[in-house]
């Protein structure tokens, strides 16, 4: 509950932070026909996606082909986010930033923290032992447009995510092969306006255990596999979407690691702030099963 308060406070500070910028926009009123500004924005609401748990623009648990930030032209867009997932036995917290350059290249960073609470005691790690990981991402839009152009040609991007766990010693004991790993992915995303549906599919070449929080591969095997993740979202208004996501994962540690899924609602509170609430099913985590709970995320974007 305390975390939820923290999120609310954070979101409020974002509102306070973002509004003066709004006011300035209006005051400045007219540098007509949008010069070549650095933070010109120009994307349609919600079409920049939200911040996924790895920091890249996407849904919540799935990465999309979208480039983070509101910049639609040659300037720079920015996002910052914080995400909490409240599970029966764990607490997930992640936060990060992304920069979108010319709606072409996205560079992102996210920090993930998984608090094991009482599970920490049961696993002999100590109560509240927290797994931490840094994720450095890069994504390039290769071709296509999320909204425009041929309705059957999606926006397609490729990217990498380099992940560095901060728990090398423990991960070795758990049986992971490495505390560092790099995912490669290709994403295709399209807004099918005729149906008000956004669909996205991503193929990810990964060896991450629980996305990397529990290391990469196992002692015997690098464990790289091609895995799928995807989202479907229905736009109910300019500001609101409902959707569902799925993400398949390897099970290198033999701990019965499950696929992830969620159903979510995202709402553009202002042109710059998007809130996402989801019910996430993260399955079994380190043998503790049925980790389902509330997912809350706030993103600010320019």
């Amino acid at each position: 509950m305390k975390k939820i308060h923290a999120l609310a406070a954070w979101a409020t500070s974002l509102v306070l932070f973002a509004n003066p910028a709004n006011a300035q926009d209006e005051e400045a009123g007219a540098p007509p026909t949008s010069g070549q500004g650095l933070f010109e924005g120009g994307k349609l609401l919600l079409t920049n996606g939200v911040s996924s748990v790895e920091g890249a623009s996407g849904g919540g648990i799935a990465t999309w082909a979208t480039i983070g930030g509101l910049e639609a032209e040659s300037g720079i867009g920015l996002t910052g986010h914080v995400t909490l997932v409240e599970l029966p036995d764990y607490g997930w917290q992640s936060h990060g930033v992304a920069i979108g350059i010319a709606n072409r290249l996205e560079l992102s960073y996210a920090r993930q923290n998984l608090d094991t609470r009482d599970v920490g005691t049961a696993l002999g790690l100590g109560e509240g032992y927290t797994f931490n990981q840094d994720v450095f991402g890069a994504k390039v839009r290769v071709f296509g447009d999320l909204i425009y152009g041929d309705p059957l040609i999606p926006q397609v991007s490729v990217g990498i995510q380099h992940k560095r766990s901060r728990d090398a010693a423990i991960l070795q004991a758990v049986g992971a092969g490495s505390a560092e790993g790099t995912d490669f992915f290709a994403s295709a995303s399209k807004l099918f306006l005729s149906r008000s549906v956004l669909a996205s599919a991503t193929a990810r070449f990964t060896s991450g255990n629980q996305g990397g929080l529990l290391g990469f591969g196992n002692a015997a095997d690098k464990g790289r596999e091609l895995r799928f993740e995807g989202s479907v979202a229905y736009q109910i208004s300019r500001r609101a979407v409902l959707g569902a996501e799925f993400r398949s994962k390897p099970d290198n540690l033999g701990l019965g690691e499950d696929d992830w899924m969620d159903i979510f609602a995202a709402y553009a509170l202002t042109d710059h702030i998007t809130l996402t609430a989801a019910y996430a099913d993260l399955g079994s985590i380190a043998t503790f099963e049925d980790q389902r709970g509330a997912y809350l995320s706030a993103q600010v974007a320019f």
């Binding site: 007509p32 026909t33 994307k43 349609l44 149906r195 008000s196």
Partner: protein
Amino acid sequence: MILLPLALLAMQDTPPPEVDWDEEFGVEERVRNPETGEFPVDPYEQDNNNAGAHPFAGTNMAQAFGGQDGIRRIAERAVELSRQDPRIAEIFVAHDMVRLKRTLFEQFCYILNAGCDYTGRDMAAAHEGMGVRTSDMNALVENLQQAMQEEGIPFSAQNRLLAKLAPMSKNVIGN
């Protein structure tokens, strides 16, 4: 000797000879057609294909948009919002808004199968050399969304019209 300054003074008083600068620079005077209120445009071939999309089948969409009256209000409002929108206003300066309101109405009416023919130019010809960018397109879409919202058009129907317009971007953006 005293006569010269006097003569100069006298010359200054005479009004300068009328110069028709439009004539000098070869500018043709544009006169609005008294009936339609529109400026004439260079000749082109009229064809419904110029609308850039196939119309919807059936009458559901026409009904959802309130028939021709609703569609006309939406087209005109979208043009008004856009020419007042600081992000894109400059692009509309010196263009014929009377004609644009009519042709945009016809285009929407034709696509929504509300009983019109489209008599305007094709999208490539209409936007040639305009330098429209994706962000300008998005601004126009937002204005159209506002116009449709004000008419109470259901969001899914709004998107179905946008789905017909979105692929035209290839003839509008960067043209």
